[in-house]
Point group: C2
C-alpha cells in the first residue's frame, strides 16, 4: 500500500469510453443480432424468458482462439524437448459468451433474470468443458474496456478450457493446502468469518455471498465475491446460489459504474480444477480487478503490486454507493 | 503463442506520444535543470565528461516512494498478525535516476559515453543500497510511455531496494537451483550456448553480451540481454562489461524505436539478492518488455501469457533494423 503515490503529478490525460456514443446495433459487429453467420455455429443459446423469440445469451467458439482443440488423440498435451526448452501445443477450447443482443447495453443495465441467464451459461459451459479429456482447468472471465484488453465493444465474456493447471493457479492451491495443514480449516472460510466480524472491508452481503475489498488488495477498488458455502469448484454451485451470484455481481458492477464513472475492469472466476472439486482447502470465488493504474517496471521485476488506494476506504465508498440496477437514462446522462 | 489473435478486429484506436511536441526544458518538470530545488537533495550527481559543468546524471530520492526507510531499528521488517492475515510495513528505498538534463531527449539519442554514465549510476546505487541492513533485493527499472506506467515524461529510471525477496523472484531462484541440481549447469549459461548455436532468436552480440528474443516470449518483441560471463549479481559487473551493456542496450532501444515507432516499454535488471551473489545457479540479465498488448482476464486468471507475435519473427525484424544512435532529426521527423 503506497497511498502517497496517488499524489504523483501526471503528464498524461486519461481516455474514457463514451457510453452514449454506442449504437443499439452495429453494422459490423459479429455479435449483433442478424449477424449470427459472422460467428461459428452457436454451442449454446438461451432464449428470452418472455416467449418473445430470439436469444438472451449465445455462446460461440472464439474465432481467434488462444488455445485450440487437440488433434493428436495419442497425446493430449505432450511436451517435446527443444534444446534447453520444453515445447507443447496450446491445447484447449476458447468460447465467447455473448451476453445480450443489444450492442450498447452492459451487465449493470440488464434485467436481473437476464443476468441469471449469463450465469447459467457460465455454469452450463463449465460443466460441459470440464468433461473433455483435454481439460485441466476452466477459466471464465470478462474484459471490460480498452485498458482491460477488450477488442470488441459488444457485451461478452469468455471461457477458456486449458490442458494445463498453470503454475500461479497450482501455487494458490498449494498455499491453500498449506494453510489447511497448519490450521485444519479452509483459508477462505476463515477470511469470510473474520471479514463478517470485522466489517471494514465488507461492501455487501446477501444469503449466499459476501463481497469484500480484499486485505492488502493488489489494485485500487479490487473486489472479491465469496460464496459463503464452502465449495472448491464453481461447477458445483447450486441454483439458489446462482441467483444470488447474478444479483450481487450486477449490484457490484453498478456500484463501480456509479462511483468510478464506468471504469475498465476484468473479472475472473477462480476455481479449483475439476479433479479437486471436493478438496477442503480451496474455495471458488470471483475477483473483480478495476484497471485504474498501470503495473510498471517495479511490478514486472519484483512481482510486488503497488496499490495507491486503501481497501478499507474503497469498501466504505462502495458501501455508500447505490447498487440499484443502472437505467439507460443514467448511463447516457453520465457517460462520456 | 497465438498468432491468429493478431488478426482480431479492433474497435479501438491507439494513442502514441509525439516526440516532436516535447520542449527541451519544461517549466513545471521537477527533473529539468534549474529545478533542482523541486526534488530532495541529490544522492549522486555524475558531472559532464567534457568539463562543461553541470550534470549528466542525477539520482534523487523518489518524492512519492513505493517503499520508505525503516523507523524501527529493533525490527527492520517484522510482520504482525491481523486476523488471518500478516501485515508488514513497506520498508525500503526508492530512488529516481534522472538520465539527462534534456527534457525532450531519450536514451537512444544520448552520446554513448553519456549512456555509460547512466549504467554507472545504476551500479553505484546498487552497490550502496545493497549494503543497507534493510535491503534484501535491489530492483532497477525503467518505464517508458503511458502504457508502461510512466507519470513523468523527463527521461528517468528508478531503483527500489526492497526488504523482502518477493515470491516470484524467489521462485525463479528456486527453479534455477533445481535446473542446476539436475544438470550441474547454470540454465542461463545453457541458454546462451544454445542460442549462439541456433541463431534464430539472436538479435545482436558483442564481446560481453548476447541479445535474444526469449524462447516462447511472454509478450511481442520481448528482449533478454544476457551477460556472457556468469555472474549471479548485477553489482559484480566489470567496467568493460558496463561499457558493452551501455552500447548494446542503447542499440536495442534504437532498433525498437525504429521498428515499432517508439513503443512504450519497461526494462528491468533481474539479479540475485546480494547474499546469493556467488551462487552457480543464477545469472543476472536485463529484460525489455514492450507494452504492445494488454494482459486481460485470461492472463489474470491463469497466469499464462498470450503472445501474438513469434519471437523468431521478432528477432529477424530487429536484426534487420538499424541500431545506430538515433538522431534528433530522425526523432522529430518520424515522431507522432
Amino acid at each position: 500500500m503506497a497511498t502517497e503515490r496517488a499524489k504523483r503529478p501526471e503528464d498524461f490525460a486519461r481516455s474514457r469510453p463514451n457510453v452514449s456514443d454506442v449504437p443499439t446495433v452495429d453494422a459490423h459487429c459479429p455479435f449483433c443480432p442478424g449477424h449470427e453467420e459472422m460467428t461459428p455455429d452457436a454451442i449454446l443459446s438461451i432464449p428470452h424468458g418472455h416467449g418473445k423469440g430470439g436469444w438472451d445469451v449465445r455462446v460461440v467458439p472464439n474465432k481467434f482462439p488462444a488455445l485450440v482443440p487437440n488433434v493428436d488423440a495419442q497425446c493430449i498435451a505432450c511436451s517435446t524437448r527443444v534444446g534447453p526448452y520444453l515445447r507443447r501445443d496450446g491445447v484447449g477450447e476458447h468460447e465467447v459468451v455473448i451476453e445480450t443482443q443489444a450492442h450498447n447495453l452492459d451487465l449493470p443495465l440488464l434485467p436481473t433474470e437476464h443476468m441469471v441467464h449469463v450465469m447459467e451459461a457460465y455454469r452450463m459451459r463449465y460443466l460441459a468443458l470440464q468433461q473433455l479429456p483435454s481439460t485441466e482447468l476452466v477459466v471464465i472471465f470478462r474484459n471490460h474496456g480498452v485498458k482491460a484488453g477488450t477488442s470488441l465493444l459488444h457485451p461478452h465474456s469468455q471461457i477458456v478450457a486449458s490442458s494445463v493447471v498453470p503454475f500461479p493457479v497450482r501455487n494458490k492451491l498449494y498455499e491453500g493446502q498449506r494453510y489447511f495443514d497448519m490450521y485444519g480449516r479452509c483459508v477462505y472460510c476463515d477470511i469470510i468469518a473474520y471479514e463478517q466480524k470485522e466489517r471494514t472491508r465488507v461492501i455487501m452481503e446477501n444469503e449466499h455471498f459476501l463481497a469484500i475489498t480484499p486485505y492488502a488488495s493488489s489494485a485500487p477498488y479490487e473486489i472479491t465475491l465469496l460464496p459463503k458455502h464452502h465449495r472448491a469448484s464453481f461447477g458445483r454451485i447450486a441454483q439458489d446460489e446462482l441467483h444470488d451470484l447474478a444479483y450481487e455481481l450486477q449490484n457490484l458492477l453498478a456500484r463501480l459504474w456509479r462511483l468510478l464513472d464506468d471504469p475498465d475492469y476484468n473479472y475472473v472466476i477462480d476455481t479449483a480444477p475439476e479433479h479437486m472439486a471436493h478438496v477442503p482447502f480451496y474455495h471458488w470465488h470471483l475477483g473483480i480487478y478495476p484497471r485504474l493504474t498501470t503495473p510498471a517496471g517495479f511490478e514486472i521485476g519484483s512481482g510486488i503490486p503497488i496499490n495507491i488506494a486503501l481497501p478499507e476506504q474503497a469498501a466504505a465508498e462502495l458501501r455508500d454507493t447505490s447498487g440499484a440496477r443502472l437505467t439507460m437514462t443514467e448511463a447516457i446522462g453520465k457517460g462520456g
